[in-house]
Amino acid sequence: MALLSVEDIHTAYGLSRVLFGISLEVDAGECVCLLGRNGVGKSTTMRSIMGITPPRAGRVIWHGRDMTGAAPHRMARAGLGFVPEDRRIFAELTVWENLDVAARAARRPGAWTIPRVCELFPILAERRDQRGGFLSGGEQQMLTIARALVGNPELLLLDEPSEGLAPLIVDLLREKIAELKAQGMTILLAEQGVAFSLALADRVYVLEKGSVRHAGPAAELREDHALLDRLLSL
């Protein structure tokens, strides 16, 4: 049984419909990537799974339980760690306070503690008492990932982690995410950056206009450039 399965979800913001029957599965230990250009529904898929924008139809099954429409804090406590796009840290709290709030809020004690995420991202230990709003873009992104990790999630939802960051930082982030994957973390990644996502993913769903256009192993796309071009050029 899949850890997470999303069954034919339809989601809309008011009258504007964004998702038209997306289905996908994530197994424990996998890194699954949602690939597609801006506006195809990657973020909305993540927000639907988290319950921030609940789907109008379809189901979100987590550990075999129907969690469709559950409040975001219930999803977080059930083990989903969400890293939204745009690096949404708490700007008025310090780095340490951001992590402390998240660790307490998720109510999931486990292996990921504040010292351990600081081992993964040493810069956070250096910036411990700085306000979140004063961090650089890359530091904020690391803090957002660390904030999700201290909740000890079973599945990490990463929405466009490389967006708007300098190439050096993007490389560093890819290494860190690869490190998380190697440690057995299950990851659902949404990305526009093809190189970034194919380097990390085991399986790929290519989205287009709110539906799944292609699903398959990442290796297939890594080798077949013609297929990749055809899928992403449209």
Partner: protein, 326 residues
């Protein structure tokens, strides 16, 4: 936290303690009112500044506190030591019921519902003659028994107003210290996270409504305690204490002092009460003066008085540092 904090509550308390001995009767009287209003404003700021909840109906809990204390002391003859905590508990209890509905809404709808509940409380206080005395209110609420203070050194020389000032100051200081402790606790950090962004707070696992209800109840309870003191201070409890202009007044105090600062509401209470007294000596158009002050404040000092002082201080430091380099 590792850094040593300045114990502001204690310092301010100690600085204000000698007022009945060195100040006039009038100043002691003003000081009592400022202390009580400061607690009311600090309790509102738990919602406004700390959590980002705009309540237009905070006066309901202030008023409930003053009625509970007044009724218990006047009608039932209970001592202050029982009536005072009962006022806080009573206000908190109403805050649980009203807050349960209010936190289901956000932004302006939340604000309007808090206002609606406060108007319901006002209507009940205004009309329920048998219990609240209707528009006559409850006159002659007795002072607490303060004879025991006579045995304290120096305090024995003070008249009853001086003693009540000391009693109020001690109680207000303890309450403000407790609110400060709450603000700095993990619970307080959760509230800051909610103010920063409700959605983010929710998806890291915070039950935002539960936290909002908790802080609503805590703020209501402290407002009730300040209301209890206010009724005794004015020697009576009247429907005006639950009427919406008092909600506006306490909000103006909070914003005037600076809602992003813990001591902002206290500074605002001091300035507003003092200005009110001074200006009404010269003109009967206090509301017009108040309006002008607000206008200047909102355009020139968006962070309130403390925000303005902080910016001025930073500019001064930059200036001095610039000179040092040259």
């Amino acid at each position: 936290m590792s850094a040593r904090r300045i114990p502001w509550t204690l310092l301010i308390f100690l600085a204000l303690l000698p007022l009945p001995w060195i100040g006039s009767r009038y100043q002691t009287f003003l000081g009592t009112e400022i202390a009580i209003d400061a607690l009311f404003a600090v309790s509102l700021n738990l919602l406004l500044g700390t959590t980002g909840l705009v309540s237009f109906g905070h006066v309901a809990y202030f008023g409930i506190g003053s009625y509970v204390c007044g009724i218990l002391m006047k009608t039932y003859g209970l001592p202050f030591v029982l009536a005072f905590p009962a006022a806080g508990l009573g206000a908190a209890l109403f805050a649980v019921v009203f807050g349960f509905f209010c936190v289901r809404l956000t932004k302006i709808y939340f604000a309007m519902l808090t206002l609606a509940f406060s108007q319901i409380v006002w209507a009940v206080c205004f009309k329920w003659n048998a219990v609240t005395g209707g528009d006559q209110g409850i006159a002659d609420v007795p002072f607490p028994n303060m004879h025991w203070m006579a045995s304290l050194p120096y305090v024995g020389d003070l008249n009853i107003n001086g003693r009540f000032y000391l009693l109020s100051l001690v109680l207000v200081a303890v309450c403000i210290a407790a609110i400060g402790q709450i603000t700095r606790s993990p619970f307080g950090r959760m509230l800051t996270a909610i103010r920063d962004n409700r959605e983010r707070a929710a998806f890291i696992g915070l039950n935002v409504r539960a936290y909002e209800l908790s802080v609503f109840v805590v703020a209501g309870g402290f407002a009730g305690l300040s209301g209890a003191l206010y009724g005794i201070f004015n020697r009576g409890v009247f429907p005006d204490y639950v009427f919406w202009p008092k909600s506006a007044e306490v909000m103006i105090m909070t914003i005037l002092g600076g809602m992003n600062y813990f001591w902002g509401p206290t500074v605002g209470a001091f300035v507003l009460v003092w200005l009110n007294q001074e200006i009404t000596n010269y003109t009967q158009y206090w509301p017009a003066v108040l309006g002008s002050i607000l206008l200047i404040l909102l355009f020139a000092l968006p962070g309130g008085i403390l925000g303005g002082l902080a910016r001025g201080g930073a500019a001064l430091r930059r200036l001095l540092a610039g000179r040092g380099d040259a």
